[in-house]
Symmetry: C2
Subunit: 355 residues, 2 copies
């Protein structure tokens, strides 16, 4: 039996309590999605593939669009076993004006495509522009022309806040991105808000924090530092902790999927932007210690920040996600230790697909 913690938000820190699970608004979502036509961009990646699989299990007609490029989260193993239930379309979003028929008749479009590597964005900013800005504008234009009634949920990111002035960070915190990737995510989210406001499209943006779980990229730290940490723990290697006292919150992928599905179905959410939080915040060093304890393997090496990372580091971050909880009824259901346990269990069985 899995331990499930129900998380409560308050002004400054989220408590994590174990307890019996109660009815959750996401429990009834499967019937809402049964028979719907749903497109998932970035659907071969970490969150996208988990979402596509859940939707296929719920009986949605699922199309995955993915550029399947190296150095992204795309991994064919993520959709293994779903060949007959998920249609895969290899497509870079910036070319989607050529295949607008793909978007016609879609009921819901989960727009999760994009690159998340801050360092890659600084060394190759034009590629980041193409993936994270051009692609989304082309998608929205295609939807405006061919699927103006589709509900769209965009995967935005805490990265757009930059270095927080104070924590927890609410949605009204100034946007002050510290790197090219952040600048591009600001633009992409602004497009989504604009297309709602000006063109009347039903669009919600979710600002994700560090999301983790099965099917994440663990080959390196491109998706999040936790990816490479998980791999090092499994391999019994040293986990490099840079600094260590930075506060972070984490979202287990299933909780993120709940947020995406609720955002798509909740009428009051349309046109809004929500932070998605999750676990109570903890320091990176505390997180590393918990991970090693659960894995029963690995060790910690505390290091100075490398200069190229230090100059774009954001210090502490954890989200105020009261708005999402209030409007959609969402709350995270998977406690950090449980989420890490499940994640390690997944990768123990198929790490070779991810390295």
């Amino acid at each position: 039996m899995k331990e499930q913690g129900e998380l409560q938000g308050n002004e400054h820190i989220r408590e994590e309590n174990s307890g019996e699970s109660e009815p959750h608004p996401a429990d009834s979502l499967s019937s809402d999605f049964r028979g719907l036509k749903v497109l998932v961009t970035g659907g071969m990646g970490f969150i996208g593939s988990n979402l596509a699989r859940r939707l296929a299990d719920w009986g949605s007609e699922v199309v995955v669009v993915d550029s399947i490029e190296p150095n992204t989260g795309a991994n064919p193993a993520n959709l293994r076993g779903f060949d007959d239930r998920i249609k895969i379309c290899k497509l870079n979003l910036r070319d989607c004006s050529e295949t607008t028929e793909l978007f016609e008749c879609q009921d819901v479009i989960f727009n999760l495509a994009g690159r998340v590597s801050h360092i890659d964005s600084m060394t190759d900013p034009l590629s980041d522009l193409s993936a994270n800005v051009h692609g989304h504008l082309a998608l929205l234009e295609a939807c405006r022309r061919r699927a103006p009634k589709a509900r769209i949920v965009f995967a935005s990111t805490r990265q757009i806040y930059g270095k927080p002035n104070t924590c927890p960070v609410g949605e009204d915190h100034p946007l002050q991105p510290v790197d090219i990737n952040g600048i591009h995510k600001v633009a992409a989210e602004a497009y989504h808000s604009l297309y709602h406001r000006i063109h009347g499209m039903q669009i919600v943006s979710l600002r994700l924090t560090n999301t983790y779980g099965p099917r994440m990229r663990v080959k390196d730290a491109r998706q999040t530092f936790l990816g490479i940490w998980l791999r090092r723990a499994l391999d019994g290697d040293a986990i490099e902790v840079w600094g260590g006292d930075q506060m972070r919150d984490l979202t287990y992928v299933d909780d993120a999927l709940d947020a995406f599905c609720l955002a798509a179905t909740c009428p009051a959410a349309q046109g809004r932007i929500f932070n998605v939080g999750g676990s109570p915040p903890l320091t990176l060093l505390e997180l590393a210690e918990i991970l090693i304890a659960i894995a029963g393997n690995g060790r910690i090496e505390i290091k100075e920040f490398p200069p190229d990372h230090k100059r774009i580091d954001i210090g502490d971050y954890f989200a105020d996600d009261k708005l999402l909880r209030g409007i959609t009824g969402w709350s995270p259901r998977v406690a950090l230790r449980d989420g890490l346990t499940r994640t390690l269990e997944y990768f123990r069985h198929c790490l070779s697909d991810y390295v």
Copy 2:
């Protein structure tokens, strides 16, 4: 003898007083620029061409880069008579990685390229992305690699503030663009700030308000509403005033050039972002009445806002430009009536080049 007004800023409204001109920090700029290698992007357009001509007159080695595309401010007539003193390079900035040698050895790069039409940006957002985002990122990458010591001044815009919460608008006002053009200008300005902060480049951004003067686009309202107003006044036609009670400030082009040149030469300005104001704010109706009185021609037709403009209209705007005045000593030197007189005089002689 031209009337020159010295403008004083205060908390809420700028006074415009006629008076004897006093020493101005821009008076000594010509010697600073003599012999410098200067590149002006968008240099065939309105502000760019005025700047290129001034710099050539001051003895700078001037290269103009311009895509010379239709529906922009580019007009070959703007550089007429300067063929032997200004080198013109037809180039879209997004392709500048192919000709990075153009940027080597430049002392100063005035980056004025871009599209400013809000309506065009909504109907063809991908072209706006290419011109206003991709182009600037490519330029900054070229400069980072080949001209990291060059001083760069970027022409940003009040448009990034969107609909002001309050006026006058200071540089710390939230950025809440109301259209695609505004989203793109936010990104382009953020690039410039980032390349200063991360790569140590000397970069200043100037947020311009409505700038007017000789060589502006008067064929239509793509550059500013005032362009088409000037033409209608000259032709004795009706000036359509939408609404009429919106407050605006205006900058005469020579005052804008002072701001650009001071930004490039003032060490304390590097890395900063400045509003550029100008005339005391007035309503659009007052502006139209002044224009018609000076032109001795034209008439006013007050109209309802067309829907496609109303939904991206920003209401009142006028700048708080105390920061620019304080750091660089800049102040506007050309009173509104004088600027309009000079502008009408210019176009009376060569309107056929601009229609």
